[in-house]
């Protein structure tokens, strides 16, 4: 059964379902009591270490947050 209802407001604003559901999950995590809060937030933390190569040698590595990487 296809729904004829209008798209949800976040979809109309150009958000994807992944963005929406991750935002919701993050808001819930931020409302937890300690120590559950820090545990939940650290579980979701993702970062990469990136180093560019120049002249056949790796440059100084730098740590990049996952969310900042997505927006680059």
């Amino acid at each position: 059964m296809a729904s004829n209802a209008a798209a949800p407001f976040w979809r109309s604003a150009g958000m994807t379902y992944i963005t929406y559901s991750n935002l919701c999950a993050n808001l819930v995590r931020n409302c937890l009591k300690e120590p559950y809060k820090s545990e939940a937030l650290s579980r979701e933390k993702v970062h990469y270490t990136i180093s560019k190569w120049a002249d056949g040698k790796p440059q100084k590595p730098k740590s990049v947050n996952f969310y900042r990487l997505q927006n680059q």
Binding site: W10, G14, S21, C24
Partner: protein
Amino acid sequence: MLRQSSRLLTRATTMTWRRPFSTDLPAANRVDSTFPEAWKKVIPNTEPPMTPSAFMKPRPVTPLSIPSKLSVNFVLPYSSELSGKEVDMVIIPATTGQMGVLPGHVATIAELKPGVLSVHEGNDVTKYFVSGGFAFVHANSFADIVAVEAVPLDQIDPNLVQKGLTEFTQKLSTASTDEEKAEAQIGVDVHSALNAALTG
């Protein structure tokens, strides 16, 4: 050019739709024995590789009479909260409204909104706050609930919920772009749902 068309047309009309709904998983284990046999001929001293179907247990067939219990699988990205647990009822916060699932429920897929998922088992009621996800209800009284984040209600801090609610209500009034408005609206929705879960 249209020589084949009459044959195609008759085939199309006589063809019946045999594929089951996606929520109905194959009941019997359909293992193809030709591959292991061919493997044994070529490499007799090595076991054939295992395929996903060898690891996954097939779902039981849909019983003719409605069973007394509902089997629930409730999974998060980092843990399995309930695995094949037999319960009396679950109440799912679907986007279309609260949805009570009892044994023998019709096969459904529902999108979850931020809200309370309650698992009823005799007199015991376990409540979780889920942030969003999907629920798959199968015809054989199995329900799979997949959520991005779920926490027991007693782990939520009411002060932070109130703080977040006022913060996002304020953001909603000052937001200018569509994206900011949507983000603020999501914030208000999630915090209102958290507030309702704690007070109600």
